[in-house]
């Protein structure tokens, strides 16, 4: 146990691949997964004499993200060269932005424990990605397909104070970028990468502690776990009066630990200077306004509207709005749902539909419901009206998706309508009582819960079609 109370301070640096057709400074394809070195040209290979030409679409996308993150777009901006030697960097400098980033001073609101917290965004800038090293036995090979893909660097201020806040920040950021349609944000494919700067300080102390830079985290969960581990590690050091060393540490997802990347931190001097091959450029007010107009309703606005218009809870709205496609299709369904109380459709949207999407391994908006929204609505209404039991509703839904047969047809063909008439259920109730004397005894001796077991037995006997409420009433009457 820690003797003192510590506060973690976290800043995140996120890199996002922009989903342009061609690379940032040449016409090569950005398609993922091509044979090594098939999507290259003299420019992205950095061959002598080649020159970069800015991809205007990448610039527009970058401005779009900047605006969506409430940043100020710089009217005058330029590219700079960032120098370091690495074999995956063919020019041994990266075209990036240094002192005049495309956009800066924005913010992103996250929701943690029912509260809104504002995380300030320091800067958003455009740069080019490097290639990929492939190590085989005792040789290393370079694949330059990724070299030159437009990359957006989004740097937060150190406003994040817990691993869960970091997780929420990433989720919110990913959601916004996906809404904008400018990136896949797929960490597995490397189209979203995240590094974290983390330090701890005693609560109430103003100065920041010595920070460590965490790398090699391959999922949002990994970011959360790595931060949690690193915070613990630093607190332990401080509690033992040991110093935290400023260093880069790598997350090991198997060991669930961070490891020091190198003991001696080399002094980094990137020797930034303005890229002379790309003249500085002016982004006009008209251009910014035009891009602003093209920004769709973002997750936060959508959430608030859903709460307002359809009476959703904050939690439900957050779940539904985490992806733009799902929010849109769900809104359609909510609108089409004829009852004034939308709750049943909302419950389905955050429950069975998401579950099914998980089971069928697809994005929830891509889940095909046979017969479309109308069939879904019919199914929910059957359930609402007591024509089918909850259990049947769920299993029919899953079966419908698996088989492609609309839910109502399954219900009709198999006659799955709920049995609510006591006269029909009487026989099964008697059977259950006869077969389970122990439960009957337990109920009679005061264990009220024992009746649920008996209800379950009747449900089984009717293949889930019995109305559990009615069964319970009959049982109670019978055993009283």
């Amino acid at each position: 146990m820690s003797k003192k109370i510590y506060e973690p301070v976290i800043g995140l640096e996120v890199h996002i691949h922009l989903k342009t057709k061609t690379k940032a400074f040449c016409g090569c394809s950005t398609e993922f997964g091509g044979e090594p070195n098939t999507q290259v040209c003299p420019v992205c290979l950095g061959l002598p004499g080649s020159l970069p030409v800015l991809n205007r679409v990448a610039l527009d996308y970058a401005i779009k993200v900047g605006l969506a993150l409430n940043c100020t777009i710089q009217e005058y901006t330029k590219f700079d060269r960032k120098h370091y030697y690495y074999p995956d960097l063919p020019k041994n400098y990266q075209i990036s932005q240094y002192d005049l980033p495309l956009s800066k001073d924005g913010f992103l609101d996250i929701y943690v424990e029912d509260k809104t917290k504002r995380i300030r965004i320091k800067r958003v800038h455009l740069e080019e990605d490097a290639g990929k090293l492939i190590h085989q036995d005792d040789i290393s090979l370079v694949d330059f397909n990724r070299t030159g893909i437009p990359l957006l660097e989004i740097v937060s201020e150190p406003d994040i104070n817990s691993p869960i806040e970091a997780y929420e920040y990433l989720t919110a950021l990913k959601s916004i970028v996906e809404y904008l349609g400018v990136s896949d944000c797929d960490m597995e494919k490397g189209s979203l990468r995240c590094d974290a700067n983390v330090s701890v300080r005693e609560k109430g102390v103003k100065e920041l502690g010595t920070k460590a830079e965490l790398k090699n985290m391959n999922s949002f969960k990994a970011v959360r776990d790595a931060l949690a581990y690193e915070i613990e590690r630093q607190i332990e050091l401080l509690d033992n009066d040991e110093a935290v060393i400023q260093e880069t540490r790598l997350w090991d997802a198997r060991e669930l630990k961070t490891f020091s990347m190198r003991t001696k931190e080399e002094a980094k001097d990137y020797r930034y200077f303005p890229e002379p091959d790309l003249p500085p450029f002016i982004i006009s007010k008209e251009k910014i306004e035009q891009i602003q107009r093209s920004i769709p309703e973002l997750p936060k606005e959508k959430m608030l509207r859903f709460i307002r218009e359809y009476g959703l809870s904050e939690y439900d709205a957050k779940v539904i709005c985490s992806s733009r496609g799902y929010a849109e299709i769900t809104e359609e369904r909510i609108k089409e749902f004829p009852d004034s109380d939308k709750k049943p459709m909302v419950n389905w949207s955050i429950g069975p539909i998401l579950e099914a999407a998980g089971n069928f391994n697809c994005r929830p908006e891509e889940l095909k419901i046979p017969g479309g929204n109308q069939e879904l609505i019919k199914l929910i209404q059957y359930q609402q009206e007591g024509k089918i039991s909850n259990l049947v509703a769920k299993s029919v839904f899953n079966e419908s998706i698996a088989s492609g047969i609309p839910p109502s047809r399954i219900i009709e063909d198999k006659n799955l309508f709920q049995i609510s008439q006591g006269s029909i259920l009487q026989a099964q109730v008697e059977e259950a009582i006869k077969e389970n004397p122990k439960s009957v005894q337990a109920y009679k001796s005061g264990k009220e819960n024992a009746i649920m077991f008996l209800v379950g037995q009747v449900m089984k006997k009717t293949s889930g079609r019995a109305n559990p409420k009615v069964v319970q009433e009959i049982l109670k009457r019978r055993l009283s």
Partner: protein
Amino acid sequence: MELYKLTAHELIDLLKDKKVTQQEILDCLISRVGSVDSKINAYVRKDTVSYPIPNTQYPIPTSNGIPVSIKDNICTEGYNTECCSRILEGFKPPYDATVIAKLKNAGALILGLKTNMDEFAFGSSTENSCFGPTHNPWDLERVPGGSSGGSAAAVAADEAVWALGSDTGGSIRQPASFCSIVGLKPTYGRVSRYGLIAFASSLDQIGPLTKDVTDSALLMNIISGKDNRDSTSVDMPVPDYTRSLYNDVKGIKIGMPKEYFVEGIDPEVKKIVGEAIDKLKTLGAELKEVSLPHTEYAVPVYYIIATAEASSNLARFDGVQYGLRVRDKNIIDMYKKTRGRGFGQEAKRRVILGTFALSHGYYDAYYLRALKVRTLIKQDFDKVFSDFDCIVTPTSPTPAFKIGEKVNDPLKMYLSDIYTISANLAGIPAISIPCGFSKKNLPVGLQILAKPFNEEMLFRVAYTYEQNTPWHKIKPKL
């Protein structure tokens, strides 16, 4: 007829009249190279390259099909382009520079043989070449200037009809002056840099080295214009430069910067250039002294900006993808050994200088300050050009110096660019034309500068001077 002696426009006329064939021109030129280049060493890799490069765009010879000689830092698809550096040993670019593509489209023949140069264009004498120095056709013991010394010497020695060079601080004009030919550095952005292996990206321009002003205008007609592959090339209409070739400078206002005629200038050069200026006056030009007050900062500013950019541009030569690789146990040692063995002395000097100027803690004091002074130098010119059509100066403070004379004194060497550097810093066009000979029969050049994108003014003044003087017709004895 000794075809090799002719200018490109004379050969074009003969081709048009069907008095010669392209093959005859080529054969004549190649035999000339065979007979004199052992003395000059204007071309490199003579034993390995067959020439010319087949022109797939124009398999049939056209009237414009004149052979062009190319400096070793301009990319020619499939043909070695090594910047006369060991580190680019064996480098065959998979693409043509835009100027090469334009020449091919115009029907020109590109010689597969490339011309000698200072390694990566670092130098003013063509001594810093891994293929050994080029000799000045006017005095074989002297340098041809540099860095486009191979192109200049080849044209002067009649072993090239015309040639392309590159000019970062005088690398076309100074050798043109040392070899008594015409050399033009176009306005920054006039000619595409795509495929020019960069020395200092914000200063480099490709330009023509020719036997006379008419050829210079003809070659500029072919290579100029906006290129979508070069973001720094400018989208301005390209005039027909041959229309500027008329023999008249009456009323043209010419400025003579007083800062260019002070200490450091060879008295003979001063006298010869003075006579050239008098000639322009008698031809009707109005001459007046002007001031470019920041001239004295040009050399230091240039050597900070140029070396800083060079240190960055040369970072890619690391042995990973192409050129020389000296194997070693790990990547860092491979980098070190490759660059250590691949770069010559001057390249190393400039990379170290430039790296220093960009280093953390020095950037503001050197690079940033240099950029600010560069703006002041540009403004000096803007001011003068608001009242004057052009400026005349000597091209170089001295005629050609002896091989080995300055090679161990970099500062002295750097000062030989003192009159040419400002045009690159200001981005303005400048031409050097022959204007006489010293007592030792060494050529002297006259430099003319004009405002951005006013190459036409340079051609007009240069052409008029040329038509009224004999210098361009005098050939070195070989």
